[in-house]
């Protein structure tokens, strides 16, 4: 084989790897055009955005705080997508996890911290697993499309949360004062995650999420179950032929995906708010999907992706205050990133196909 082909193959591979990474700059560029159309200087707007997100300690720690649930949800999405199932239920799984963590830690508030805190997070993960498990089992047993059932489970979780926070779980003080804000009582202090830095919200959940990313990597690439999940996702027919129970592993990847989103909910209440509030999820269930995709569905790729998008979310608020550009611009950019990333996969597929036909 002449070295020239070798070189062009390397070039091709580099382009293929870099192409999805271009999604964010291109989306930001389109965002810049929109900002310009609003009569604001894009450099000034993005300047405030990135300065606010990464330019100082308070902004950067806030970005990490937002990155934490994004990463956890993103890990769940990664496992599900690797198993060939699409989990759009992160939002609902996160809410249910947060509700369960709140109820459990308030109910068992006299347990010592060393037992209460891990159990609280475990309960959050388990409830998320149940919430993701319903679509998982329905898919495995009855062939129900998981995209649709996870979306319905989101709506149900939201209503469940509204009901519990206005009724059985409402903070008694809210009733006494008559303010009736839909939020729960405070979690016992023993169930709070440790704050890592004074005068910031940065909490140990960020470290937990990072450890989880490594564990998910080991799980997917170094264990038999992880290998089977990926085999099912890559080619279900081949996996079935190899004797892997495809449906079981599809359900399992939805259950595990739910567990991570549920954990994200538990970490949000135990680390940030210390109580369950309305609107806790703030769209993490969806932006977590973006983080997972931009991280190329690799657990370790999801880490920088989450920090980037966490930063964009934090910076957008600062940008809105300073330049009146609505923070909804970030939602537009997230949407464009998804569209670009999924569109760019065509080149990788074409190349794989060419290789196949060449023999």
């Amino acid at each position: 084989m002449p070295p020239k082909t070798e070189y062009s193959r390397l070039l091709n591979r580099t382009i293929e790897a870099l192409l999805p990474l271009l999604a964010v700059p291109v989306a930001l560029l389109i965002g810049a055009v929109m900002i310009y159309a609003l009569g604001v200087n894009p450099f000034q707007a993005y300047g405030t955005l990135f300065q606010g997100a990464f330019g100082n300690i308070s902004g950067f720690t806030q970005s990490l705080v937002k990155a934490t649930p994004l990463l956890l949800v993103g890990l769940g999405v990664t496992i599900a997508f690797r198993g060939g199932v699409i989990n759009i239920g992160g939002e609902g799984q996160l809410i249910v996890g947060a509700l369960a963590a709140t109820a459990f830690s308030i109910g068992f508030s006299d347990l010592p911290r060393i037992i209460l805190l891990p159990l609280t997070l475990l309960i959050a993960a388990l409830s998320g697993a149940v919430w993701g498990g319903v679509p998982g089992v329905l898919k495995a047993r009855l062939g129900v499309n998981e995209i649709l059932s996870t979306v319905m489970m989101n709506a149900i979780a939201l209503q469940l949360s509204n009901y519990l926070l206005r009724g059985p779980m409402i903070d008694p003080a809210e009733i006494e004062r008559g303010t009736q804000i839909a939020q729960s009582d405070l979690l016992p202090q023993a169930a709070w995650l440790t704050r890592l830095m004074p005068r910031t919200l940065l909490h140990s959940g960020a470290i937990l999420a990072l450890i989880m990313a490594v564990l998910v990597y080991i799980f997917l690439w170094r264990t038999t179950i992880g290998y089977r999940i990926r085999a099912v996702g890559l080619n279900p027919d081949a996996a079935r032929y190899a004797g892997i129970p495809v449906r079981f592993y599809q359900a399992l990847s939805l259950i595990l995906g739910g567990a991570f989103a549920g954990l994200a909910g538990g970490v949000e209440v135990a680390g940030v708010h210390h109580r369950m509030i309305e609107g806790l999820s703030g769209g993490y269930g969806f932006s977590g999907i973006v983080a997972a995709l931009f991280g190329k569905l690799h657990p370790l790729g999801a880490v920088p992706a989450s920090v980037l998008f966490g930063g964009l979310l934090v910076g957008a608020d600062r940008m809105q205050r300073a330049t009146q550009v609505p923070s909804a611009l970030i939602t537009v950019i997230l949407g464009l990133v998804v569209l670009f990333v999924v569109s760019s996969e065509i080149w990788a597929r074409r190349r794989a196909r060419r290789r196949e036909t060449r023999g």
């Binding site: 699409i86 059932s149 969806f286 999907i289 611009l329 950019i333 949407g335 998804v338 569209l339 999924v342």
Partner: protein, 310 residues
């Protein structure tokens, strides 16, 4: 319980059930075309939001509801075109590209709303028109023949869609492309063109679905006002077995349960309203479960087409 089911109450539930079915019908019938041609457009919710905003803004500025409706259709068309480029030409994974389209539509409609309108304002939307003669029939006239234009349009769309899908050459091509694109391609059907057409048609109808919210049902625009209705519309297509009449049955069932749930709240019956609001979603999951294996889904659904691939 007895006082819940008096005749006027039942009539009221049926009346509002029919009204509430409107946005679902437009969106789900449009989605039926896309899915019958093999494209799962999961971005319906985002398209509806763009339609709802555009329709509302134009109607507000021009004072003409029909201009608003046209604008909503145009916005839907553009969103449908974007989805076609990504999912048909660039062969993107359809479940995920739909999420991207949703985020894009949610963000853009919110952004435009904040910049151009700012606060919540309402307009006088499409008013009920009583149909001559039919509208005079006791009871039935009030329930079926005293609605606004968009409601009539939605229900006329069902037989029309059924006719186009099953009795026209275009419909035959759509079904062929959705069942076996390779074979259709061999017979000279332009697979890409058909899929662009159906997804764009679905976009137009989803745009109108959004306008039916902001110009007839609620008469205002709010951030994320669809709150997931587009996803329900996609679910209704599965539930209806990819047939327009089935989709209509699903839309009506869903909306009747919704209307019933609203009445239960009004009557102050001892069911927490948030639990009642869950009912339609639980019903949808049950419905999907029951129709899961039975319904025959288009063979090529979610599978991108490339020539020379088998």
């Amino acid at each position: 319980m007895a006082e819940l089911f008096t005749l006027p109450v039942l009539l009221g539930i049926i009346y509002s059930g029919i009204r509430l079915a409107t946005p679902y019908l437009y969106a789900a019938i449009g989605e039926t075309f896309a899915q019958r041609s093999g494209v799962l457009n999961l971005g319906v919710d985002g398209i509806m939001l763009m339609g709802a905003y555009t329709g509302f803004y134009i109607a507000m500025k021009t004072g003409n509801l029909f201009f608003g409706l046209l604008g909503a259709a145009a916005a839907g068309l553009l969103m449908g075109l974007l989805m076609s480029i990504v999912s048909v030409s660039l062969q993107a994974e359809q479940g995920i590209s739909g999420i991207g389209l949703n985020l894009f539509g949610l963000g853009l409609s919110t952004l435009l709303f904040k910049v151009t309108l700012g606060g919540v304002e309402s307009i006088r939307g499409f008013q009920p028109i009583r149909i001559p003669l039919l509208g005079q029939i006791p009871y039935l006239g009030d329930i079926f023949f005293n609605h606004n234009l968009l409601v009539y349009g939605a229900f006329l769309l069902v037989p029309l869609a059924n006719f186009v899908l099953n009795k026209t050459t275009f419909g035959l091509k759509v079904r062929a492309v959705g069942q076996n694109p390779q074979a259709a391609d061999t017979l000279g059907v332009n697979v890409t063109l058909i899929r662009y057409t159906t997804v764009c048609l679905g976009g137009i109808l989803a745009g109108i679905a959004g306008a039916s919210l902001s110009l007839a049902l609620i008469n205002l625009f709010q951030e994320n006002m669809t709150s997931g209705m587009g996803f329900i519309a996609v679910a209704l297509v599965y539930f209806g077995g990819w047939r327009p009449w089935g989709v209509m049955g699903g839309a009506l069932l869903f909306s009747f349960v919704n209307a019933l749930q609203l009445w239960v709240q009004v009557k102050g019956i001892n069911i927490p309203s948030d639990i009642a609001v869950m009912m339609p979603y639980i019903l949808t999951i049950i419905a999907l479960t029951l129709s899961g294996r039975r319904a025959r889904q288009p063979q090529a659904l979610t599978k991108p087409f490339e020539r020379g691939e088998n």
